[in-house]
Symmetry: D2
Subunit: 393 residues, 4 copies
């Protein structure tokens, strides 16, 4: 089976999907819906899209949902959908962070698969509890660290796994943005308000919102486990309640080292996520804003620019590539890949079949690691940058 449903020999029935959050005015909900649609594995049939029944209904009408399946709360949706013979098989959770745990729990415990936005939860306690729930559940848990879906990220990971980089020495990650360079949350901008609110966002600001992405991506590609970190976490914008910049030094198990920089005040950067990994035999560099390219340099050889769909891109990239090289795929396609890999697992779960081992969507374990990373950053910074061991246990 490949990424696109349309390539299947015999079409399976589409997966009935619900959504929590993502109503009018939201950003990431629409992204999840486009991602779910692109490869045609899902039918969105129910939603608890907003915090009140009225708004939820209005948002549901926009999406063409059956009004009787537009719920006023996730609890109601979980209960009622679980009771329907044609109830949802999976749910996308696209709320602010603090809702991830209770919502995911409600669905997982009813055997409904969960596709959840990152970070996993707003704090490490919730993360660990969610892991317990997920581990026990019969349903799957998929975390949308969407950048892992980019074909050239997959290729980078494959290079590492194939030993092409040799022993890894350095993992350099950065994710600079500039959209919070000024106190826009004070103007009421919805995306800024909740992301800078500890009650909704959790312990970390930039660290939770984008630092986790960078950390996840470096881990995904390198395959390394973080051992300890030393962080200088800071809030530059006066009155802001969460961090908007962090400098982190990293030590991985096995001796590799790294740096991670995330910032929401670095003017001139939109979503400047970049990962660079250097080993004894080769180095790679990947930039999210230009995702169809991977720089790859073997020690003592010319730099190579591997392109998605081009010569030099291997099987792992090909598996998640939809169109030929030179026709760029973007953010939504990478996001859709997570949804399609989730679909592969969910469809396999229908029949008890084994999931293709190439399906590598992020899991609850990755989510716990991410929250542990944020927690350690904050802890280290409180100790003036002392090294803090990172444990997701």
């Amino acid at each position: 089976m490949t990424i696109e449903a349309s390539k299947s020999e015999q079409r399976a029935a589409k997966i009935r999907l619900g959504m929590v959050g993502g109503g009018q005015g939201a950003f990431i909900g629409a992204v999840h819906r486009m991602a779910a649609r692109l490869d045609d594995h899902y039918d969105l049939v129910a939603g608890a899209l907003s915090s009140t029944p009225e708004k939820s209904l209005a948002s549901g009408r926009d999406l063409g949902l059956d009004p009787t399946r537009c719920y006023g709360s996730f609890e109601e949706m979980a209960e009622k959908e679980a009771a329907r013979p044609d109830g949802i098989e999976a749910v996308s959770i696209v709320t602010p962070n603090h809702m991830h745990y209770p919502a995911a729990k409600a669905f997982l415990e009813r055997g409904i698969h969960v596709i959840c936005d990152k970070p996993l939860t707003s704090n490490l306690d919730d993360a660990k509890k969610l892991k317990e729930v997920a581990d026990k559940a019969k349903a799957l848990f998929i975390l949308t660290h969407n950048y892992t879906g980019y074909p050239m990220v997959r290729h980078a990971r494959e290079l590492v796994q194939n030993g092409e980089l040799g022993e890894i020495r350095l993992v350099q990650m950065e994710y600079p943005q500039d959209w919070l360079a000024e106190p826009v949350e004070q103007t009421g901008a919805k995306q800024a308000v909740w992301r800078t609110d500890p009650a909704q966002s959790g312990v970390g600001g930039s660290t939770g919102d984008i630092g986790t992405h960078a950390y996840n991506l470096g881990s995904f590609i390198s395959g390394l486990e973080l051992e300890e970190l030393a962080a200088d976490v800071h809030t530059f914008v006066e009155g802001r309640r969460l961090d908007d910049n962090a400098h982190v030094m990293l030590r991985f198990q096995g001796g590799a080292k790294g740096l991670l920089w995330c910032s929401q005040v670095a003017t001139g950067n939109e979503n400047g996520l970049k990962v660079r990994i250097y080993g004894t035999k080769a180095g790679i560099e990947w930039t999210q804003a230009d995702p169809n390219y991977l720089w790859y340099t073997k020690l003592g050889e010319p730099k190579q620019l591997i392109t998605r769909g081009g010569a030099g891109a291997g099987g792992a990239a090909a598996r998640v590539t939809r169109i030929p090289g030179g026709h760029p795929e973007g953010y939504l396609e990478a996001f859709a890949t997570i949804y399609s890999e989730a679909a592969q697992a969910i469809l396999a779960a229908r029949t008890g079949a084994a999931v293709d081992p190439d399906v590598v969507y992020p899991t609850v374990d990755d989510g716990v690691k991410g929250v542990a990373f944020v927690t350690a950053c904050i802890e280290s910074s409180k100790q003036n940058g002392a090294w803090v061991r990172v444990s997701s246990r």
Copy 2:
């Protein structure tokens, strides 16, 4: 109304869509389907996907189509779907070029909207006849010159329309590829076989397949009408029956000049479509492989890099932008924009409402111009590069 169906206040019923061509092994059919799905305006419900009933059925099953709506020919599909009360409202034609005219005619004459791949037809006679049919029909005709859907292409066009470039002097277009640098059609590669076959592709090879794209894009952005051209069209690969490289000098009405280069043998180029336009006040440069950027330089000022979703991108770009800056959109998103603008027009046609003037998908007129361009290239080249007037009348 915006690009995404999900943003509409009250969701309209989705458009019932059929497809001609695009069965197993095809490339562009899947692209059209993804494009149709992304913004959720269409339901694919019928198809004449292959040249035999058996293959068409097999391909239809893959897509989850009702077997009774998998037809063995476009004629059958046109007839039967037109007779159904729930028949298709629109059809995507994604066959080789020579089929565009008869298939489009069959649907248009039955009042079914046509979304057709480019070039319009395989020769100028067909193109003119198709225009006659389309002009008389009650149904709409949309040509998928998909590159016009990129947000930064829209922004470039808006800059020109707003006079920001001043009087245009130069329109430089190029579209180099390398996938036909060797005679791969002799190995049976499906995409290469039909594209190098005059019976299926028409009079032009590279000129028809990609030269038309470049020409269309230059025209779309600049708003200029071509007056005459001088071409040196060539086939480098021995045994190939259509051109694989063309050099064209252009003169536009009003005095602007241009160059167009298309090639399928330029090793190192995937889909290197680039348009550069220079006026008395400013110049712009856009490259398809990196579509989220537009270089914009006002005379005597620093170069600006306008980004999709970033500061400096105007209303025309914003209208067709789905996600924030720094998260790249790609080829499928641009393609989807054509589908979504088609949907806006089709939905308006349901009720007789006026179409938003910002809807600017390519039409049958653009298609005739494209075929006239190819025809003139071939004609000029036969006359050893003499200037040939380009007329789509």
Copy 3:
């Protein structure tokens, strides 16, 4: 012997150099002087730097010249320096084009080596006469098509010569600028005034000033001889007396084809010289503004970015490289390479030694070809773009 004098085993006496043109307010004269100094092969000891004795003396003083060797005319300088036992061995001619022929003749006929700026002359007659003079002279003639001195240009040429590109199909050259987008010559700007004056510049404007550079560079790298061309040469700026834009289609001996675009009105371009060459086995791309890089793609392999001084750069590049990779060399270094290769030949001429075959500075023959190219462009354009054979005989 290598590029830098300082690497020689036993230092030869420096070459006594004079200069014609290049006085106060000139641009290219200072460039020649820096180029002559960089590798320490020359001593500038005499000059006819300006058109009057007073200005020439003032300019000479600025440069620390002996006032008795600051001449009021090149004729005087040629005569007097030839008569001195310590007279100049070589002269740099950096005047407007129309002076190249008489000045070069005066020195060559007295056995003084000539290093002359491009284009060779202001018209083809002069060019052919200068070739006759140079061919008969005992002195050397070096033409400063300086871009041929860039290490990655040398590497590109070596790749072609080694057959790495296979049979060449396409040579695409462009040289867009924007400094004449407005009629700046009417403001008295010195560089613009003479370059747009037929009496000083010759038959070609942009074609002569930069088109010759692009054409020379394409020829230098590809090794191909031009057979015929068809040109659309134009003047966009009202009142300008020479062309400021040209579109040229090219046919080379042996079947390769090409395009050449030069422009002085392409806003946003400073010195956008680019050469792309495509063969049956590989393609290359080089851009003057980023000269330390060469894109090199073998058919069916990933793109390689060869860097000056890096892995993948061969012997021809290494010969003219001064500093390690990653520390950029620029325009002056490339220019200096022409001077240093000229020095190698001049030093060899002192003793009658053979010149290293790797010394490949442009000669009078290249100069005649350049003027023939310009002449053919103008001729073709007068014939409305008819193909014109290019003959330097």
Copy 4:
């Protein structure tokens, strides 16, 4: 007075220069000589080029030096040249680091100006002593942190000084290389041997060799003083005696923060020096390998690419620019700018004139700061990354 001697109204006599180090097989000596020649302010007339009289003489002959002024030691040179009426006025010190202090002292105390390679010394004690000597001396001390000579670096600094960036929040510096990814010093490679030898190089490896460059450049542009740092300094290559990678977190006076990464094992990087600075009003980014460009983004406006010699580059860049935009200047030109600014100061010192305040070459104070930075990195790392105050007092 401008950068080029040739632009001066009345030419001053050139500065008589000597050199310590830089004999056969050296790298940086040739760079200094080219830098000294480019703008024609110096005559190299004496040298203690190697560690033995024989080698020094051989090297001197290569350079055309008078054999009687080729000395076997810097002590001898200092003594004898100081005694000559036509003795050197200035000396370039281009030895390994441990020789900088004694050599500089010998010349400074005799009133001979010193142009010294970086880092200032091999340890902080020497650095402080050298500062004492320099402060007392009548001669000037210039430190060749050559990257400060790039025009776009000057422009960046000018933007900061003019307040265009607002209050600076972040200074991000990196300098990755890969030439020591393997233990090449064990093969006897001269450049690697001394740079990895604590006796010659000092306390820092990568930190001293390139970390100081990055730190100096960040300070030069931002104008900020470092307060404290926390470092994780490491040696990846087994058997190497000095660090080859360092991660450093920085806190500046006034509240700005920064990261610095230097590495000699980051495969795929040649001299990847990059500085990014973000303030409340704008951000800038400059990369040494592409030095003619400066990215400049004002908050809420499109990104600008400022080019050397182009629109948007201000007076500070213009002062040190030799050739028009689009014709790249490189490493040697930037290096030459340091030499030319040194010449301006030395020529002023001849007459007691004031030095142009725009002359901003690095001084002994910058050198002490650099060694203090390295020392603090090593100290912090010994304390497992504890914050260490950086004091150059």
